[in-house]
């Protein structure tokens, strides 16, 4: 990750934000707004069919996986059921849950598929997650001290974050974080720090804790009690392991995709002074500079909730994810015209860069 002040090669990489004039920023904002409006005006039956079909397929996949796992004490059934359930959980969290709760499908005015009522198969309650993610993260993306997703308050992913001895352990606990990602996100969304500092009213904080506890109980009962019990006494343990495996697989995948979104070397972070009184154009530029895409096939993009189009997602968080691929060439072309980077790379390269950063920044210093 790079910061504007500590850009590695200031002579060859001039600061993109500083180089654009206010007029150019306004023009850029107009162009991006126009893309957004054009897509929004074009949304229709084709888009609706995509999301309703996907929602249906997910539920069918869940039914199939759970049925197969009834016979989880047979090895092939265990493997098949666990794989199906992992795929279902990944689809549900990423392409469906994340995007529906962003309000990407609110334009359909569907009584069920909308950001108001949607709940997902993850530990976080929708209310807390939407606040932490849609508002805090997407508004203050990559602003040091404001974007709580920058290292999730427990990791040093940017050289500007002050070093602390505990970070020496981050290469190890990042693995634990990855495996239990959904629970880490849930605790993160609660923002215990804010509660302790008294920034949240006591009653609101209590409501949130109660909500999280209820959600956690239902999630745990479902995967670690109810379904295992359905498999009978002999199948109980195997089904429990299958469900746990599916949850961990989903967590690892989500962690990989999400960490590649903002922490590869190509992305920038910003200080609060830099973004004071930011114009709409500058907001867009910050999103462009702070996000990185992942190259991949159509199937990869569906399985990653189209977060391989992190750049497009951060420009237009409430645009249906299916449209990101469509606008990507235009965004890329626009970046070239304005001399802005369009960050992208294959998954393993991006993830490798992230892991390198995590190891390097475990120690003091770094760029």
């Amino acid at each position: 990750m790079r910061t504007l002040q500590a850009s590695p090669m200031p002579s060859t990489t001039p600061l993109p934000l500083a180089r654009l004039s206010p007029d150019e920023l306004d023009e850029l904002a107009r162009e991006l707004d126009a893309i957004h409006e054009e897509i929004v005006a074009d949304l229709g039956e084709r888009d609706r069919r995509y999301i309703t079909t996907l929602v249906k397929r997910h539920r069918q996949l869940v039914v199939l996986a759970r049925l197969v796992l009834l016979a989880s004490n047979r090895r092939p059934a265990w493997v098949a059921g666990t794989s199906l359930l992992s795929v279902a959980k990944i689809l549900e969290n990423m392409e469906i849950g994340h995007n529906v709760m962003h309000g990407q499908w609110d334009w359909m005015k569907d009584p069920q598929i909308n950001s108001f009522v949607w709940d997902w198969d993850s530990a976080s309650t929708p209310g807390a997650w939407k606040y932490a993610h849609n508002y805090v993260h997407h508004t203050y993306t990559n602003i040091l001290g404001k974007d709580r997703d920058l290292g999730y308050a427990v990791m040093r992913v940017d050289a500007q974050q002050p070093w602390h001895a505990v970070y020496l352990l981050q290469p190890f606990y990042s693995v634990v974080l990855a495996a239990f990602f959904e629970w880490a996100v849930a605790v993160h969304d609660l923002d215990v720090g804010a509660i302790r500092r008294g920034e949240k009213p006591k009653t609101a904080a209590w409501q949130e804790v109660k909500g999280m506890a209820g959600k956690a109980r239902r999630q745990i009962v479902k995967d670690y009690l109810a379904f295992p019990a359905l498999s009978g006494r002999r199948g109980f343990k195997n089904t429990l392991k299958a469900n746990a495996t599916a949850n961990v697989v989903r967590n690892l995948w989500a962690y990989m995709i999400i960490f590649c979104g903002h922490f590869p070397d190509q992305t920038y972070t910003f200080t609060q002074e830099e973004v004071a009184d930011e114009s709409r154009g500058a907001f867009y530029v910050r999103q462009l500079l702070g996000s990185a895409n992942i190259d991949g096939s159509g199937l990869f993009h569906v399985m990653s909730g189209n977060l391989g189009y992190q750049v497009e997602h951060h420009l237009f968080p409430d645009m249906p994810s299916t449209r990101y691929a469509e606008i990507a060439p235009r965004v890329k072309e626009l970046c070239a015209r304005y001399g802005l980077p369009y960050n992208t790379g294959p998954l393993l390269k991006q993830f490798g860069a992230v892991q390198r950063t995590i190891v390097r920044l475990a120690f003091p210093g770094g760029t």
Partner: protein, 379 residues
């Protein structure tokens, strides 16, 4: 369609949905008992995979048949997923229909008489020029389409004790609530002492024209006058004197566009007995009230019980905060959907695009919308 759009479906629902169906209690208990397996979804989510009509959270229906009535009107027969709870002739139905990916709620008069043998209900929309839902229903919808059904509503109904003499005055699609009253009266052998004055452009434009003419031929107690406005102009209140000299003594039902209602009800107020007058407004188009453009309006925050004013450029959120309401907020630029509230009535303008939208299930981002006229919002 009547523009008396219901305010809310109650029970804290922030999104307009269908009515609560009448489901056997054992079935609800059974579904509840497996909910631990479905969380965070509900058992209905899986039941609906098999058949969307089996949903117990809202009443749905399936379009069974579409029968053309005139060049631009058709009767849509709908089979409800659960037993239809019944309605009174003259009442209207809220119906949720997907057109080009977007869910729309509309209200149409029920044209079916209560308790049809086949269990179906019917509405008869007339394709409104520039409309969305009515042209779809009349021209594009097909058998098998699933719709959401609200409960029957409205007090444009016959009195419990049927009056001796009735007068119906209708125009255009205003005939739709009246036809179900007429059918109801026919079923009860009570089609006597009834006068219907109906206005339409031409004889071919009259929805249920052949049926009305046959009714009047068979029932001497049912007098029909058709006024063809293409040739003879509109029905004037004065013509009541010779078309139905005893109009003052009759229980009267008016049903038609606003202009007709205004003229006629004014006449009743001046020269007749207003207590005997019932009316239902039919407004072609989107069914949205007219509002001055870009001049803002008053915002009523229903849950906060705060009223605020916007000049048309101040977002609803800011106006509300200035008036002291504690409202949810987020990015303040329209991207994060933290500030959304459901619009109960009125229209809003999107300050980014200028687009104006109405209250049918609309979730409004208060940070980038301003009121167009007076609005009420569930926040």
């Amino acid at each position: 369609m009547p523009d008396t759009v219901p305010r809310d479906d109650g029970a804290g629902s922030r999104h307009e949905a269908g009515a609560q169906p009448r489901v056997p209690p054992w079935r609800r208990r059974l579904l509840r008992s497996v909910s631990a397996f479905c969380t965070p979804l509900v058992p209905d989510d899986y039941v609906e995979l098999v058949n969307p009509l089996w949903s117990t959270r809202e009443l749905r229906g399936r379009i069974e048949r579409i029968v053309p009535e005139t060049a631009d009107a058709a009767t849509v027969l709908i089979r409800p997923g659960w037993d239809w709870p019944g309605h009174q002739p003259g009442q209207f139905l809220r119906i949720g229909i997907v057109v080009d990916g977007i869910h729309h709620w509309r209200a149409y008069s029920l044209t079916s008489e209560p308790g049809r043998a086949d269990g179906c209900i019917a509405i008869t929309p007339k394709a409104a020029e520039g409309g969305t839902v009515s042209p779809y229903l009349v021209r594009s919808a097909r058998r098998g389409v699933i719709v959401r059904l609200g409960a029957a509503q409205g007090d444009f109904v016959l009195p419990h004790r049927l009056p001796d003499r009735l007068l119906f005055v209708s125009a255009g699609s205003g005939i739709t609530p009246i036809i179900s009253m007429l059918r109801f009266l026919r079923e009860r052998d009570a089609l006597t002492g009834v006068v219907l004055l109906h206005s339409d452009r031409t004889p071919q434009d009259v929805i249920f024209g052949p049926e009305l003419r046959e009714l009047s031929a068979r029932h001497p107690g049912f007098e029909l006058h058709e006024q063809y406005t293409a040739g003879r102009g509109r029905l004037s209140p004065q013509s009541l004197e010779h078309l139905c000299p005893d109009w003052r003594e009759r229980e009267a039902f008016l049903s038609g566009p606003s202009a007709m209602l205004a003229t006629m009800s004014g006449h009743w107020a001046k020269a007749g007995n207003r207590n005997r007058l019932h009316w239902e407004r039919f407004q072609p188009g989107t069914g949205l009230p007219e509002a001055p453009l870009g001049e803002g309006g008053t915002i009523y925050f229903r849950d906060s019980r705060v009223a605020a004013r916007s000049d048309g450029t101040t977002p609803i959120l800011v106006a509300g905060e200035q008036a002291g309401a504690r409202l949810p907020y987020g990015c303040r630029m329209g991207i994060c959907h933290t500030c959304v509230g459901r619009l109960c009535s009125g229209r809003v303008r999107n300050l980014r695009t200028g687009a104006i939208t109405g209250p049918h299930g609309e979730l409004v981002r208060t940070c980038i919308h301003a009121p167009e006229g007076d609005v009420e919002i569930a926040l």
